[in-house]
């Protein structure tokens, strides 16, 4: 669905990360001071404030960046269909009209388990919304490599345009960077034209130093996006972890020229969360990283909160949840 060399917005196309052999010097001396990262993260949202029409615009942009997600054991074709309908029309049309948007709003992607990919592809046909599939033994990633790679190929064959892989955490905890690199590189190869988002499961990696190094290895191995969490770890996306990842991404970009995308996932529920992460992206990386080809938010309930905020913006009245269609 997208060609191999570029993805993203027409006039501002990106060159896809080609990957590279493992290069230890790019990260082996990396330092991350946790206390300082926490301080920076804590004040990102207090140093910037976005109000009124600007806030509405930022929230619209956030909607465009959402990977609307269902990753539950009880997912069914029907549930996935409902989610895809919401993805096509994430915000009520009357609100969209009042916002004066020139084209109709849609989310960044719909994210499902591999077995749900055929249902999602069918439901989204003609919408231009890509299907993202988790793969590689999500969420733990502890099935044999052969099977993990086969899972990727299955999802791609069924029409997934983006694959959210999970890494083998032991390779980070043992600092076995070569093994981590080679596995992700193999996954990238299995993805073919589909984009690879590398989930680092940062809640399992614990230290920010690990997060930084794993980010670098994933990018060297050819990841198009790096993503924080599966949503299933004890701790999911946090601002300090995200800060560390986007700084790694920035360093990688400075040294290779490739722009890599970032996706926080898990625990982002409110419009305020969306804005905090948008501010992080704009402050640490710049305006370009607010677009869906470089920024995605893995979320399910966040959309409902954004809808309410947007309704409040256009009506001046606080909105009821039940006035917006369910995802």
């Amino acid at each position: 669905m997208m060609n191999d060399m570029t993805h993203g917005l027409g006039g501002n196309a990106l060159t896809r990360n080609s990957g590279m052999p493992l290069a230890l010097p790019m990260f082996e001396k990396a330092q991350v001071n946790t206390a300082a990262a926490e301080r920076r993260a804590a004040t990102l949202g207090t140093r910037r404030s976005v109000k009124k029409e600007y806030q509405a615009a930022w929230l619209v942009k956030a909607v465009q960046c959402i990977d609307l997600t269902t990753l539950a054991g009880d997912d069914t074709a029907g549930r996935v269909h409902r989610l895809c309908e919401k993805a096509r029309r994430p915000v009520r049309e009357d609100i969209q009209e009042k916002l004066g948007l020139s084209e109709s709003l849609k989310v960044g992607a719909v994210c499902v388990y591999p077995a749900m990919v055929p249902h999602a592809v069918k439901a989204l046909r003609g919408s231009g919304i890509p299907v993202a599939s988790v793969a590689t033994g999500f969420p733990a990633g502890l099935t044999p490599l052969k099977i993990r790679l086969a899972e990727i190929r299955y999802a791609v064959d069924e029409g997934a345009g983006e694959i959210d892989i999970v890494i083998f955490r032991e390779q980070v905890l043992h600092q076995d960077w070569q093994a981590l690199h080679d596995e992700i590189a193999a996954m990238r190869e299995a993805c073919g034209a589909a984009h690879l988002k590398a989930i680092l499961a940062t809640g399992d990696l614990k230290t920010l130093r690990n997060v930084y190094k794993a980010s670098m290895v994933a990018m060297q191995a050819g990841a198009d996006f790096i993503k924080t969490s599966t949503g299933k770890e004890d701790v999911n996306a946090t601002l300090p972890v995200s800060l560390t990842m986007v700084r790694a991404l920035r360093d990688f970009g400075e040294q290779t020229g490739f722009k890599i995308g970032f996706k926080p996932a898990g625990g982002l529920r409110t419009a305020k969360d969306a804005m905090n992460w948008q501010i992080l992206m704009k402050e640490e990386l710049g305006r370009r990283w607010l677009e869906p080809d470089l920024f995605r938010i893995g979320a399910s309930s966040m959309l409902a909160d954004i809808e309410r905020q947007l309704e409040h913006y256009v009506t001046g009245r606080y909105a009821a949840l039940s006035h917006h269609p369910m995802a």
Binding site: A35, Y54, A57, T207
Partner: protein
Amino acid sequence: MPSVSEILDSMDYGPSPEQNSHVKEWLGRHKDGFRHFIGGAFTASSGKQWIEVSNPANAETLGRVPQGTAGDIDHAVKAARKAYKSWSRLSGHERARHLYALARHIQKRERFLAVLETMDNGKTIRESRDIDIPLVARHFYHHAGWAQLMESEFSGYGPAGVCGQIIPWNFPLLMLAWKVAPALAAGNTVVLKPAEFTPLTALAFAEICMEAGLPPGVVNIVTGDGETGASLAKHPDVDKIAFTGSTEVGRLIREATAGSGKKLSLELGGKSPFIVFEDADLDAAVEGVVDAVWFNQGQVCCAGTRLLLQEAISERFIAKLRKRMESLRVGDPLDKSVDMGPLVAPVQLARVTALVKKGESEGGTLLQAPSPLPAKGNYFPPSLFVDVDAASTVMQEEIFGPVAAAMTFRTPEEAAAIANHTRYGLAASVWSENINVALDAAARMKAGVVWINSTNLFDAAAGFGGYKESGFGREGGREGLYEYLVPAWSKNLAAGAEDAAPVSATPSADAAANVVDLIDRTAKLFIGGKQARPDSGYSYALASPKGARIGLAGLGNRKDIRNAVEAALKGSAWSSASAHNRAQVLYFLAENLAARADEFANRIKQFGAPVQAARKEVDTALARMFYYAAQADKYDGRIHSTNSKKQTTLAFNEPWGIIGLVCPNELPLLGMISLLMPALAMGNRAVLVPSQAQALVATDFYQVLETSDVPAGTVNIVTGARDELARTLAEHDEVAALWYLGSAAGSAMVEKASAGNLKPTWVNNGKRIDWFAAEQGEGHDYLRRATQVKNIWIPYGE
């Protein structure tokens, strides 16, 4: 107004103004002019002059405050004196209730105070809302606690009395809190003069005092300029002056208060180093620079404006910093998305502009943030000088604006040398992920506050204050409270310390020695571990009170003091010795003195003391030596409970380095020991001027020093005309602290002469201290005076 679609393209932040209608309403109520707050009521000035107060962001007038006159100050001091009688007698708990009420009221008025502060000072609403005002409330809470604990934690101490407090414009309400909260907790009453640029939050605080039911006269606020401040500093019925501001004005206040008996604390300028080692988290350190240099427009005395970068990472760091500067936003400080507002006043803008021009003319490369600046208002962009070195003006002078200057270093040792090579010593920021590198650097810093992998952290529980010409005294924490307390016994001392008679350096037939029954002894000076003849080649005669000639002592002069200080400078081994090692030497000194106890008693007897008294003096001196030997490894620092969960704040008691000790004329052995031992126990090297009249006790004592493993340069003894030598010591910029126990006139002279390098002094104002009484002659007071507190902040976590 742009449409949502247009904003989707630009993704700008857009305006986000903090609403200020409540503050405008309040200003409107006062549009005819504010008044002083005296004796619990708003009181018109006795003068007719006004000071216009304007908003630095747009030059709009906010109101006017009276230019306080000497009469206004006198009125306020009288009100404070009257209130002092009852306030100081309240129980700690009663005062705690009042401070608690103030803290609560400040919290209830927090947004009002934040908005007013931003309009008055120009600091961003983010800072006034998230930093200044919360710290103000925190300071009152913390000190409500100290008020409660005053009797149990500070028994034997009492309030200093009426305090005059003069505060700067950079953190108007926070500096008020730092001054008022500890003063009130300790039982003092205050007259506070806010800065003329920024008096408004202090006047709002006055209203809060009324709202919170503070008794009249406990807090008095008189507005005005430097002249009003000078009247306060000079007022005879003020017992203590606390000043925060420039080193230049601090020096004037030191001179103005000399000899007045006032306690004094000064928090002055700085040019603090910000050291980035090659193993630092560079992105973290870049944010550190933002918070160090561009916080409050750089109008921060402890701003880390000297960036010292290890050569291996310097280029990369500057590249990252330049990139970071691109996203800084300068503009209306009431806008919630602004990083930097205007400087406080046009005169500051002119000063910063001139210094930056000078930096450029000296060859520095100026890098500035590209953020557009508003057309009106005192705005200056975030700035960074590269291609400068240690000799550049912008590396040496406090700019007090948003300007950093960067240079490189090669090794940790060199970093410390460059960092400390300044007249200031307020703060330092050290960035390294290696605990050895970081703690070693922190230990080497000659600064009152060291932040490891952080910068500009403040909390009521930790002392803040500087080394060297950054001032003396601490604000915050236990160490800060002592600035507002005095030992109870010190309030009732009588005059009568022995004065030193004029010295004659000529031979005299009147005082001929009676019988030559011993081989003649030659008393020399003792400098750098060696006996040295006085530079002058003169001696002066020592006699008993009845006129019997006892011997000759060298007539030391300013060159001998210079040589003694040189020797002390080289004798740094003592300051770096372990506390245990110092204790051993002090015990050994006592042992060797004890072995010659009879000889010393006889010598003291020669000078007129009765046998019993002479014996008692030696015995008391020996006990005192043991006391300080014992304390050498027990007068510990503290770990402060600062307000953050993953952070430790270590308060170290560090020696001054070189301390001048001018000993009392009476009790030649005990007086000398009472000064020398605490200084040595804490690791200082001393230049000591012994009793002028009984100097031979000290010259006998150097023989004890010589046999007791005291390293060369640790103790240097110069005999001679006491006040002349004291003056040279007071004026010597390498002497870090000075104790003078002599006459009232000599005390005044010493305090005045000390203004040069702003060395802290301790003088007796001619009062007689009972050196035999342990309460007066030894104890924690002496150890505290022999040390300065360095707070090292260590945030941690992985």
